[in-house]
Symmetry: C2
Subunit: 242 residues, 2 copies
DNA sequence: CGCAAACTTGATGGCCGTCAAGCAAAGTGG
DNA sequence: CCACTTTGCTTGACGGCCATCAAGTTTGCG
């Protein structure tokens, strides 16, 4: 699959995973006006004009959504990879309840709400694709809630790794149970409600057991069955097709 | 505000909180065909025809959404009170990833997807109201993620009580910092990722400190400021207006 | 009044947090 | 190319929050 040269081609392909677009729809996406910016790792993603009348699209790199508490603690709410629309929810309800930040150096495109709304109005397929994205995000939130509330550290790691692998695979960014893993142990800890110290110990144990290799920003899942089983992982919520 | 006699009046008023409906919209909601059922406490909410081509509306009583793990543990994902639409997300993406159950005896109405979709197609206000409901649900999920990941038991309780009180107040089901509290300590534990034993101890402490009274299914918040402060509660995510 | 469900309390232990220190890796500048 | 710094990883010691197990007690309801 040769990627289209258009920067938003990645979004068109992503949305078309679930909905059948006409050539017109496809073209309309790719002709959306965008401002693209390259951000260094660990930078907040902020709307320059402060109007927050845009949605952002991840074109390259990894990002996350997070909330901060007064004591300085951070909870990561989701990770995002190329093709994702982390704040599509803002389309009809601005006033974000979370921050966004890059994990790696990343290329991010900003698309005006006005144009996205027009797309949704003119094309039922587009409206449905947007709805679907938001609903899948909510389903992913639910999976995280259950992980945070009722799984121990080892199971949490297993569940997150399974989720990330399948999402990357669906985006043609991973295969053969090998994937890039730019997340620091500190990021993993903030996503799973743990400390980085404990994170380190749990990872060591799981590595020792032969569940996976994790070094130089690369994760190789050695025993997918065991990992998925430890997590009680059910990929249905991701709605990746298959 | 005298409630309309129509069973779906409660939904119309709820959706109208955020969106301006015409009299036509209003009437269209109230004329939706529904099947209403009364369920005893602690019963699963199941679609009889198995097609799950319906959304449900809580008319009376409390319900919850949950996920189960293999070891029998339960994670509650959300609580729902009269006027709520717990599974509106199924409208354009069936295949639920969670179960629903009553907390108290409850009256639940089932509305066919077909009619809801037609409403959304014919009225932009309606479409926006649905979108908004789904997005607020996701925002609530995010608040729970942060609670589960980064707050201790005491803060979790404080946060949940603040959320529930404001939602009930907005539905005219609570006031003066007094609200019904039908949740068992076991339910609270399953929502907050704790055991019921620990739940009991934490509640006792908070009661002793004078934060609230909690007996005979009634919660009286004695010190709202202290409770909200302990939770670092910011009501913005609920989008209740005001 | 009797049963079941829910609440309460104590004792004990483990998972994970905190504090502290040292090591490794990666980038920076001279 | 090598000091130097920064960031991230690793490990040990210790403690606390919360889970587990095991009684009781209270509440609610038929």
């Amino acid at each position: 699959m040769a990627p289209s040269g258009n920067p938003l081609g990645i979004v068109a392909r992503r949305l078309a995973r679930a909905v059948s677009f006409t050539a017109v729809d496809q073209g309309a996406i790719e002709r959306l006006p965008v401002v693209t910016r390259i951000l260094e790792a660990s930078r907040d993603i902020i709307y320059e004009d402060n109007s927050s009348a845009h949605c952002c699209v991840i074109l390259d790199g990894w990002t996350c959504c997070y909330q901060l508490l007064a004591n300085g603690r951070r909870q990561i709410l989701s990770f995002h990879v190329p093709g994702d629309l982390p704040d599509l929810q803002s389309l009809y309800l601005p006033s974000p309840d979370f921050g966004m930040a890059t994990v790696t150096r990343a290329s991010v495109a900003f698309v005006p709400h006005t144009h996205l709304r027009r797309l949704a109005q003119q094309s039922p397929a587009m409206a449905q694709a947007f709805w679907r994205e938001v609903v899948v995000t909510a389903a992913t939130h639910r999976a995280w809630i259950t992980s945070l509330g009722r799984r121990d550290a080892r199971q949490k790691v297993a569940h997150l790794f399974c989720e990330l692998y399948l999402r990357l695979e669906a985006a043609s960014l991973a295969g053969d149970h090998i994937m890039p893993m730019p997340l620091r142990q500190n990021d993993l800890a903030d996503a799973l409600g743990l400390t980085s110290v404990h994170m380190n110990r749990v990872l060591r144990n799981m590595r020792t057991e032969g569940l996976f290799d994790l070094r130089s920003r690369r994760l190789k899942i050695r025993d997918w069955a065991a990992l998925a089983s430890a997590a009680e992982f059910n990929p249905q919520y991701l709605h990746l097709g298959n």
